[in-house]
């Protein structure tokens, strides 16, 4: 929460999302910058398990004390697990955006899409 942090083992999307790719699966979340800009997150509504994500398109919303914002999919795939604990504790997204604050796990449908994502250094260079 306190200081900016962009782990090197993640892939980043320009809409401030990250993907941790593990074989044909990936865990998705929002970046430190995204949670910092949103402010305190008060609601997160996960998509249904089995839902289809399309890269670059919104798949869910997070609501902070400032605004409701779309969460954009960094990769296409099918949702195989959602982080149910965020329903009661959405502020985990602020506290631990890359760990306990993960949003969904997906089965990747198009592995080559990952090539279009940025590494940490390239993503940080896009931030104001």
């Amino acid at each position: 929460m306190a200081d900016p942090n962009y782990p090197d083992d993640l892939k980043y999307h320009a809409e401030h999302d990250w993907a941790r790719i593990d074989g044909d699966e990936a865990t998705l979340g929002i970046t430190w910058y995204a949670q910092d800009t949103l402010g305190e997150v008060v609601f997160f509504t996960p998509p249904a398990v089995g839902a289809t994500l399309t890269k670059d398109e919104a798949y869910t919303e997070v609501e902070s004390v400032k605004a409701v914002s779309d969460v954009v999919a960094p990769l296409s795939g099918e949702v195989i697990e959602v982080n149910g604990s965020l329903g009661d504790n959405p502020q985990t997204i602020n506290e631990d955006p890359y760990g306990e604050g993960w949003l969904v796990r997906i089965r990747i449908s198009n592995p080559t899409e990952a090539d279009a994502l940025m590494d940490a250094a390239a993503y940080v260079a896009t931030l104001p």
């Binding site: 305190e40 008060v42 609601f43 609501e63 004390v65």
Partner: protein, 504 residues
């Protein structure tokens, strides 16, 4: 830092911190009113209200004396920050002074005590006032047909989008999309969704105008309407409004004017002349109805000839013999939008405002609103504030302007929220914050025409002071406010676990 002893009495502090409710103050048998002796024959209660319709136990009402009631609400009112207390530059809300003369006029018995079920023949004065207000709003907007029914800006928006639907349906068309800029007031997308349309957002170009190329691409024959605020929520006038209107009309859609920012253009230019089909007014913003507590408001709409047949019913009309009436005979109308005819007191105040200023006065009000905003922006620049809080779009603004707190966050370590909270300690209300959404750490400042130069100078100096203080010690602003009845609120808790009901 000097240490000062708090010399206030513990009794004084307890009174200042007193947060008892009116129910907490209740004591059995106390009362503020004694009914006069009954001077008509008493009838059994069962005759008046059948037992089955009466509650079994009396309602729990607070039992308090009149001075206790007066002190209770007076104490609460002092804990609030309001326009009669200090500067309130809340962008897009037009917190201008509400002339006290209007209160006197609204309180006249003929205005205040008229029953809403009164027959039109016995309410000619009220109907004439409403009709005259309709005429004035038609003239101000350049759209001749007015309905006073909608009772909030958002309600006016909903009316406008329902009129759009009725208009397209009358032409045998089922359109599915409504366009709004990405700077739109949050009510616009909410209205679109509530009316059953899909929302499509239009981007903003580098100069802060609507992205006309993006509009051209998204304007298809599936589009029912473009909802636009002009000047925009960035406080900027859309110079390409004629072209925008052309694009929208070329695909057969309607152009809707969100009147929240009308205060910048009254008597100078008219939405109808720009090509808009439907306008809503916020009488509680531009036309001096006191507001900020959720009502009562009024969001009348004005429309062009082609939309007129669908206006809500009844309409206030003048008959050929010069009498005024409610016209229910409107077969193509979208119907009623509310019970009765609207918040009449708001109409009285707004009509009083329009008549006391006249056409020239309204124009001057808008001119001074724009002048004050530009003056304040220039003063903030002189104070060095814009080094950390640059204007989001450095050009002449209209009645309000947007600063970005992004550099302040990086350079001084305080956010827009911290600045806003610290302003409270200096006795001014913060501007609108974090809106429009496209500007990072946004502050939307609208001084209005009713503030003096000294007030604007003082505000600029206060913001500069807060920034200097933050450069020295950002923790002070981060912990603010210190002088208000409550400190930082738990906004996440308020959103997630709201306590909406006091348990007895």
């Amino acid at each position: 830092m000097s240490v000062t002893t708090d010399r206030r009495s513990p009794w004084f502090i307890a009174a200042a911190d007193d947060d008892l409710t009116i129910f907490d103050r209740s004591r059995p048998g106390r009362r503020a009113f004694t009914a006069p002796t009954l001077d008509v024959p008493e009838r059994p209660l069962d005759e008046l209200i059948p037992a089955a319709l009466r509650r079994a136990t009396p309602a729990r009402l607070p039992e308090v004396s009149e001075p206790e009631i007066v002190r209770h609400y007076n104490r609460l009112s002092k804990r609030n920050f309001d326009l009669d207390t200090g500067f309130y530059p809340l962008g897009s809300c037009t917190m201008k002074h509400n002339p006290k003369l209007h209160e006197r006029i609204a309180a006249l018995p003929g205005h205040a005590r008229l029953h809403p079920l009164q027959r039109p023949a016995a309410a000619q004065g009220a109907l004439e006032l409403m009709w005259s207000l309709q005429q004035a709003l038609g003239e101000i907007s350049g759209l001749p047909h007015v309905s006073l029914q909608p009772s909030a800006g958002s309600h006016g928006e909903l009316a406008g989008v329902l009129l759009t639907r009725a208009f397209h349906e009358a032409h045998g068309q089922q359109r599915t999309k409504v366009l709004t800029p990405d700077t739109a007031h949050g009510t616009n997308p909410a209205t679109v969704t509530m009316a059953g349309y899909d929302l499509v957002k239009i981007g903003t170009d580098a100069a802060g105008n609507i992205d006309v190329a993006d509009l051209r691409e998204k304007a298809t024959d599936e589009v029912a309407c473009l909802m636009l605020t002009n000047p925009s929520t960035l406080g900027l006038f859309e110079p390409q409004i004629k072209e925008i209107a052309q694009i929208v009309h070329d695909v057969g859609a309607t152009l809707y004017y969100d009147g929240a920012n009308l205060n910048a253009i009254m008597g100078i230019c008219r939405p109808g002349d720009m090509g808009f089909d439907i306008v809503h007014f916020n009488l509680h913003k531009s036309f001096t109805q006191p507001h900020g507590g959720g009502g009562p408001g009024a969001g009348p709409i004005a429309v062009s000839d082609r939309i007129e047949p669908f206006l809500p019913r009844p309409q206030v009309v003048r008959r050929e013999d010069g009498s005024f009436d409610l016209d229910h005979d409107r077969p193509r109308s979208i119907g009623r939008l509310r019970g009765f005819q609207g918040n009449f007191g708001v109409f009285v105040r707004s009509y009083a405002y329009i008549r006391s200023l006249g056409a020239g006065g309204l124009r001057e009000a808008s001119e001074v609103a724009v002048l004050n905003a530009n003056y304040l922006l220039a003063r903030l620049r002189e104070e060095g504030v814009l080094e950390h809080l640059p204007a989001a779009y450095p050009r002449l603004c209209m009645h309000e302007f947007v600063l970005s707190g992004a550099p302040m966050k990086h350079e001084l370590g305080i956010r827009t929220l911290d600045l806003a909270k610290r302003l409270l300690d200096h006795g001014v209300h913060p501007p609108t914050v974090y809106f429009p959404l496209i500007v990072e750490e946004a502050l939307l400042i609208e001084p209005t025409e009713t503030e003096t130069r000294e007030t604007l100078d003082r505000f600029a100096a206060i913001v500069a002071d807060v920034l200097r203080e933050a450069a020295d010690d950002p923790e002070i602003a981060r912990g603010a406010p210190y002088s208000t009845p409550v400190r930082r609120l738990d906004e996440a808790g308020a959103a997630r676990q709201p306590v909406l009901r006091e348990q007895f």
